[in-house]
Symmetry: none
Subunit: 221 residues, 4 copies
Amino acid sequence: MAAALPPVPESSEPPRRGRRKEARPGELLDAALDLFVEKGFAATRVDEVAARAGVSKGTLFLYFPSKEDLFKAVVRKNIAGRFPEWDLEMETFEGTSSELVQYCFQTWWERVGSTKASGLGKLMLSEANNFPEIAEFYRREVVEPGHRLIRRILQRGMDRGEFRTLDLDHAVYLVLAPLMFLMFSQPSLSLCIPNPDTFSAQEYIRLQAENVLQGLCVRPT
Amino acid sequence: MAAALPPVPESSEPPRRGRRKEARPGELLDAALDLFVEKGFAATRVDEVAARAGVSKGTLFLYFPSKEDLFKAVVRKNIAGRFPEWDLEMETFEGTSSELVQYCFQTWWERVGSTKASGLGKLMLSEANNFPEIAEFYRREVVEPGHRLIRRILQRGMDRGEFRTLDLDHAVYLVLAPLMFLMFSQPSLSLCIPNPDTFSAQEYIRLQAENVLQGLCVRPT
Amino acid sequence: MAAALPPVPESSEPPRRGRRKEARPGELLDAALDLFVEKGFAATRVDEVAARAGVSKGTLFLYFPSKEDLFKAVVRKNIAGRFPEWDLEMETFEGTSSELVQYCFQTWWERVGSTKASGLGKLMLSEANNFPEIAEFYRREVVEPGHRLIRRILQRGMDRGEFRTLDLDHAVYLVLAPLMFLMFSQPSLSLCIPNPDTFSAQEYIRLQAENVLQGLCVRPT
Amino acid sequence: MAAALPPVPESSEPPRRGRRKEARPGELLDAALDLFVEKGFAATRVDEVAARAGVSKGTLFLYFPSKEDLFKAVVRKNIAGRFPEWDLEMETFEGTSSELVQYCFQTWWERVGSTKASGLGKLMLSEANNFPEIAEFYRREVVEPGHRLIRRILQRGMDRGEFRTLDLDHAVYLVLAPLMFLMFSQPSLSLCIPNPDTFSAQEYIRLQAENVLQGLCVRPT
DNA sequence: AATGAATGAGTGTTCATTCAT
DNA sequence: AATGAATGAACACTCATTCAT
C-alpha cells in the first residue's frame, strides 16, 4: 500500500519504467535459468520468467522472439559460450596430462557441476524427446564441443606417451560418465545418492579422477 | 485370482465384449509404461494411453483417479524386486571379485540397461521433483538395494584381498556412475552420445569395467 | 436469473449436456456462417462461434481441428458442395441457351445471391491476402467450378449456333461480373448502391441477363 | 504551405535531423495507404506504417490518435475529388454517346482501375461495416458522384436518340458492375480470375464496353 | 517534437477431467 | 462397467497504445 505511493524516491531502486535496455536481457536470462532448472522447460511459463525479472510478458518477447530462443540464450550464456575459454585453457596447460585430467575434473565441478548450470544438463535429458530442435541445438553447442575437448585431452596424453593407446570413441566416456552422472543426479540428489550426509562431491570428484587415471596412464601412479 | 476367471472359452482371440475386466488395469499400466518411457510424463496424453490399451478415456479414469495416480501405479508395478534374485546370485558367485564385477556390468546391461526398465530410471530422474512420494519409494526399493549390492561386492573384494582398501561411500559410484550414465543416456541417445554409429554399448560396458578394475585391484590385471 | 434455476423442465429444450453428436456440426456451421459473414474471418473469435452454437470452445475443436478448417467446412456446406447439383441441372436443361442463361441468373440470385452465402464471397475477397491457404481452397473449390460451369453454358450456346463466337477467357466475365458485383455489394449494400429504395435486385438481375444476352445472341431477341 | 519551407538546402537527400515536420503526416498517410491496400486494415501493423514512413511508432501516435483515425485520414486524403474534372470532360465530350461510353471504360481503367486507388475501393468494401462514418463519407463523395456521372452519360444517349429508353436506377449498373467487379478483383487477382495468364484487362474492358453497348444502343453497331 | 521501451488484454489451441447415458 | 461428448483452465505469442526521457 505505502509502496504504491507515486512520488517515493525509493533510494537506489531502479525506476519502474526506466530505460533499462542493457540490463534487461541479463535479468531475464537469470530468471529463466532459475525457473527452467527448477521446473523444466515445458512447465516453466513465460509469464513467470517475466514476473521474476520484474517485467511484463510483452517485454520478454521484446528481447527473445520465443520461449525456445530464450532457452537457447540461457544455455549459451551458461555453458555453450564458455567453451572457447575452456578450450584455450586446455591448449595452454603446462603440466602433465594426468594433472590436466585432474584439473579438468576439479574445475568442471567448480564451474559447472556445482552451479545452477548443472541443472541444464538434466533438463535437456528430460525434454529432449519433446523438443527436438532444442535437443539438436544442445547437442551441437554443448555436447559436441565437450566431447571434442575431452578427446583432445586424451589425445594429448597419448601423444606425449603418458596415456596408453585408447579407442577414443569409447574412452571419452571414462571421463564423461562420472561427471555427467553427478550432473544428472545433482538436482534430485537424494534420488541417486541415498546418503547425502556421508557423501562429498569433492571427494567423489577426486576419487573418480584418480580412478580414471589408473586406467589411462601407461604406468599407474 | 487367475482361478477366478469367468468361464471364458479361452480361445486364442480375446472375446470382443465381456473381456476379462481384471486385465484392464494391467493393460493400461503396460500402455502407460511404454508411453511414459517414450515421451515423458507431461507429454503423454491419457487419450493415447487409453487408445493403446484398447479402451476409452473414460474407462481409464474409472481405474485411476488421475494421470498422476496412473503414473504412480506404473512405477509401483514395474520397479518391484528383482533384487532378491540378484543378491542371491552374488552371494553364490564362485569366481574372483574381478570376475564378479565384470559379470555385474555385463548382466546389468543385459537385464536392465538394454531393456525398457532403463527408461524408467530416466523417467524417475525427470519426475522426482514432481512426485516426491514416488521418488522416496524408488530410492528405498531400487536405489538403496542397488547401492547395498555393490557395496557388498566391493567389500567381498576387499575381504579377499583382491581390491585395495576403499572408502565405500564414494567407491560405489565407481561402479554406479558408468552404468547410470548409460541408463540415463539411452532413451535420448544421440543427445549424450553424438556419434551413435561409432559407439557400441557392449564395448562401452567392457571398457568401463576394465577401467574400474584397474583402480580397484591391488595388482592390476 | 429465473432461467438459472436448475430443475426447470423447460419443455422441449435439448438437454444441456446431451448426446448431440449428429446435430453439433450443423449448429456450429450455422453459427460460424453468421459470424464470419458479419465480422470477417480474422475478427470472428472461435469462442463466439461456440457460444452462439451453445457449446464450449473445446467442443468446437472436437468437430473442427482448426478455425481454418471450420471456415472451409462453412464454404463447402454453403457453396462448394452444391456445384454437382448445379452442374447436373445445367447438363439436363432442355430449353434454349438464352433461357438457360436467364435461368442461371435467376436461380443464382435465389440460391446464392440473396442468401447469407453471398457474404462468403465478399469475405474471401477481404481476407484472401492474409490467409493464402484459404484463398487457394476457395479458388479451387468455388471459383474454378463456377468458371467451368459458365464456360460450358456459353459453349453450349455456341455449339447450337445460338451465341456468336466468343473468346471464352473474357466472355465468362460478361456473366460473372454482374453477379459478383451484386454479391460483393450485398453485405454493405448502401455503400455500392446508394439508393436502395429505388433498387430491386430482381429487376437488376433481369436487366443484366437481358443485356448480356443482347451481346451474346447471334440475332438479338 | 510549400512556400513556408524552412531554409533547407534542398539537396537531393533529405536532411537527417530537422526534416520538415509538416511532411510527416503526409509520409505516414502514404505509407499507410500502401499497406492498408496491400494487407487490409487489421493485418496492417502500425509499426510497419511508421517504419515505412521512416519514423518511430510513437511518432505516428503523435499525429494520429489511433489506428482507426489513421485509416480515416487515409481514406479522406485519397478519395477526394477528381470528379469535377471528369464531369467537365463528359460535358464537353464531342463524339457519339457510344464513343463516350467506350472512352469512359477506357479512361476509368487507366486512371482508376489500374492504379492504387483501385485498392481503396476494395478496402472500403471490406471495412465499411467497421467504419460506418467513413463508409457514409465514401458513399457521399465517391459513389454518388460516380452514379450521377454515369446517369448523365446514359441520359445523354437517350436524349440524343442513341440509346433506347432505360430505367436509369438499374441501368447504371450495366456500366458500373463490370468496372467495379474488376476493381474489387484486382487486389487479389487470382482469386476471382483463376487464369491470369490468359486474361487481359484491356481486352476485358473492351469486351465489356462492347457488350454493354449492344444492349444500350437503339441499333447495335 | 520525437523516441522506443514497456505494457497487458486478447486469441487459437490442447488436454485432463467430468458425467449423462 | 463402459462410453465418449463436453468442458474450461491454461499457455505462448501479438500488437495497439502509453509514457518517461
